[in-house]
């Protein structure tokens, strides 16, 4: 796959390969490439996690993800930003989200990654259900 074929934003039930995005972000124009991986943790708050089950309002999630990437690429000139997220079951130790930012200078690569992952946590309609031995619960759903 060439860089042009890799979409900036993806929701997929397939495992994520951050290396592909990393390689795409390493370009002549880039002086820095920052990679953020979100991975599934167990135990979580003292409880063993069997897996997380992710679902999304897909059209809206993709649109909001694209907005975040566009914001980052506009704000940090010369940057290339990818945001790929898993759906469905993801086991502890697996990658659930990848953000990659390639920028001319290093500070911007950290800032762009941070902008995108914090925005995702706040505004992108994706939800995870934590499934353990004793039952399951939607994360953040206790008012």
């Amino acid at each position: 796959m060439t860089q042009k074929d890799i979409p900036r934003v993806v929701l997929t039930p397939e495992p994520l390969d951050s290396r592909v995005l990393e390689n795409a972000a390493v370009r002549r124009e880039a002086g820095a490439v920052n990679v953020f991986l979100g991975t599934v943790r167990s135990p979580n708050r003292g409880k063993e996690v069997l897996y997380l089950d992710y679902e999304a309002h897909e059209p809206m999630a993709l649109s909001q993800m694209q907005r975040l990437v566009d914001e980052a690429e506009t704000r940090w000139k010369g940057s290339v930003v990818y945001l790929h997220h898993r759906l469905g079951r993801v086991a502890p130790g697996e990658v659930s989200v990848v953000v990659v930012a390639g920028t001319p200078h290093r500070a911007a690569s950290f800032d762009a990654c941070r902008h995108v992952i914090e925005g995702l946590k706040r505004d992108v309609p994706i939800w995870k259900k934590e499934v353990g031995a004793d039952g399951s619960e939607w994360v953040n759903s206790r008012p």
Partner: protein, 80 residues
């Protein structure tokens, strides 16, 4: 007028994929929230911290709705 709500995550587990509400003409998003809380008292707490979206964008509570509109009910997100 009819307002269709698409449900996700905890709301979907509790109430199914979608709900169709019959509301007075000119109702706002706030009135959708009130009606849902009245119909489903056990969801009131989660409703209070949830947002609504039309198409792919969040809409504020004072948004006036038209007949046949489809809204998504967005509980606190937990991606990442």
């Amino acid at each position: 007028m009819k307002v269709t709500l698409l449900l996700f995550a905890g709301f979907r587990d509790a109430l199914g994929d979608r709900i169709v509400l019959d509301l007075p003409t000119g109702s706002t998003v706030a009135q959708v929230r009130e009606r849902l809380a009245a119909d489903h008292a056990d969801q009131e707490g989660l409703l209070r911290v949830s947002r609504f979206a039309r198409d792919v964008d969040f809409v504020p509570d004072d948004t006036e709705l038209e007949d046949g509109v489809e809204l998504a009910l967005i509980p606190p997100v937990s991606g990442g």
